[in-house]
Structure formats: structure tokens, C-alpha cells
Symmetry: C2
DNA sequence: TGATTTTGTTACTTATAAAGTTACATATTC
DNA sequence: GAATATGTAACTTTATAAGTAACAAAATCA
């Protein structure tokens, strides 16, 4: 498949929404993302369900932030998108009978799961607001290690 | 795309090759992997170039191990495959001009790169031989932490 | 020598999931 | 009632590994 770019895209959108009070239409967002409004609505749906944004119809409608960006971690954004498939690499089969194949799958899965944990940890340590606060991210991560 | 299962597949093959002295044909390997000989040859090509296996043509030909499995780490196997694309998730664009998009990409890439490091570390701590030596993998990893 | 086996490689098709597109019902505002 | 937006369903496109077919080259066997 193509590379899934929904996470950076919605982060981008959230940062833009934070810069204005007025609702931003899917059409305007589509222009920011170089895509079309329908895809924007589909992609943002998860964030709406999670309560991070609100959408209103009709004249003057559009998307607005419904929560402060410093109270939303990147991990929550990823989850709101439905925790999309992270890896392009995976096991050979779900439940092979061959013991050697099982061993190969176990080792592959173990490395992938460890990587997934790191990914989730990293996302959990950063809020969306941190992204535009230079070095805040590094400081926060350093403090967590103490 | 489909999930890339080359890593567990070639690990599976290496473990099988270790169980016999005779060359194993691509056709026989194809039956183990539920695929066809041509794909086997294509997939194994990297391991041949890396010197992990050898292939001989003609009657009685096929694939044989060219190196001891306890001297091959999973990281080396992954590299021999050409270090395939690990993630299904990625940045929104390569070099966006929007500063907010840059920030979104930076954060996404940072989490992915941290995950990749974990993946590589994990693969580096295990040899192919470890896969069929129960608990050897855990012991080795525990020792590395000391 | 000539038939057979097997790899090495190229070219092409299929499968899968996100991206992209189109269309329209529904809701809100003017 | 006209215009503006979202919500959603259906469909097409794209990208990449898997899968397939075909054949030249090399090695073995009779």
C-alpha cells in the first residue's frame, strides 16, 4: 500500500486549528494538505469522535479545536485514527504448524513488538502543543528518565 | 501493499537448511513456504550475496548453508534482504515548506526512528541459531543489560 | 553428446490498503 | 428557498510485495 501519512497530516491540521478561532472548512484544510475535502472529513472523523475537534455544518461552519493541544498526546491522536497498521513487515503466517516457522515468526514478532512499544512510548511523551514549542519535547523526555 | 514477510521466511529457510547436509532446491523450499521456486530464488539472492548460503546448479544442486547459524544475527539477515521498508506509517511529505507541517513530520519521524532503533537492537541481539535454542535469546539479552 | 535438472534473471500479473475522487443526503445559515 | 458544509458511501488510483511464467546458462547424468 502507500505510506500511511494520516498521523503527520492530522497533527499538521491540529496545529493550524490552534492558530485561529474561526472554523476551518474541509476545503481549506484540503488545500493545506494538498488533497480534497472528502478525504479530510474521512481522516478527521476519528479526531471528532475522540472529542479533540468539533465540526459544524452550514455557513460559517467547519472544524474547530475542542480541546487544548497541551492535553492531547501524540499517542492519543494515533489512537483516535484507529491505531493504524504501523509496520510494513510482518509474520509469514498466522498459525504455522512447522516449529521452525513458528520460531522464525516469534523472533520477528518480538522485535516488532519491542519497536511498537518504543513508538508508543515516544508518542506518549509528547503533546501536540509540544511540537511547536522548540525543545519542550526533549526536556519532557529527559525528565521522564530521572 | 501486502505485508512484507521476507524476514521470517528466510529465517525459516535457514533453520531448515541447518537440519540437512544435502542441497535443498528452490522447489522444495517453495513447498515449505507455500510459494513458488522463482520467488524463493529472488528472496534468497540477498543471502547468497551476503555469503550466508550458497547455491549450485544442475542435478543434485540447490541451496546450502555457507556459514554457521550462530555467527549470523537477525540484523544481518534483515540487512541481507536489503533492509526492507519497516514502517507502513510515514511523513506527509519529504520537504514541506509549512513550518507546522515540518513540526508534524519531525515528531512522526522521531517516533519512527526510535522504533527502528529498538527493532535493530533487538535483531542484533539474536543469532539465527538462538531461534531454536529456547530461552537463549532472553538470556543473551539479559546479559547485554548488565 | 544430448537430455535433464537447477539456478539466475527478467517481465508481467495479482493482491492489498491508503489515497484520491465523485456524488449526494443532511443540516445549518443567510 | 438558496447556498454552504459536513457525513458517508461507492468507486478509482497508486504503490509495493507477492505471485507467476518463461527462458538462458550452468552443472550433472546416462
Amino acid at each position: 500500500m502507500r505510506t500511511d501519512s494520516r498521523l503527520p497530516r492530522v497533527l499538521h491540521v491540529l496545529l493550524h486549528l490552534d492558530q485561529t478561532q474561526d472554523p476551518v472548512t474541509s476545503d481549506q484544510i484540503g488545500k493545506m494538505l494538498n488533497t480534497n475535502p472528502s478525504l479530510v472529513r474521512r481522516t478527521m472523523a476519528g479526531l471528532r469522535e475522540a472529542g479533540f475537534v468539533g465540526a459544524t455544518k452550514g455557513h460559517g461552519g467547519g472544524w474547530v479545536l475542542a480541546k487544548n493541544l497541551d492535553s492531547i498526546s501524540l499517542a492519543e491522536v494515533y489512537a483516535a485514527l484507529g491505531s493504524p497498521q504501523l509496520f510494513a513487515v510482518g509474520k509469514s503466517a498466522d498459525a504455522p504448524t512447522c516449529l521452525l516457522e513458528q520460531a522464525a515468526n516469534r523472533a520477528t514478532s518480538a522485535a516488532l513488538e519491542a519497536a511498537r512499544e518504543t513508538f508508543q512510548e515516544k508518542l506518549g511523551q509528547v503533546t501536540v502543543a509540544d511540537l511547536v514549542r522548540p525543545h519542550a519535547q526533549e526536556i519532557r523526555q529527559h525528565q521522564e528518565k530521572l
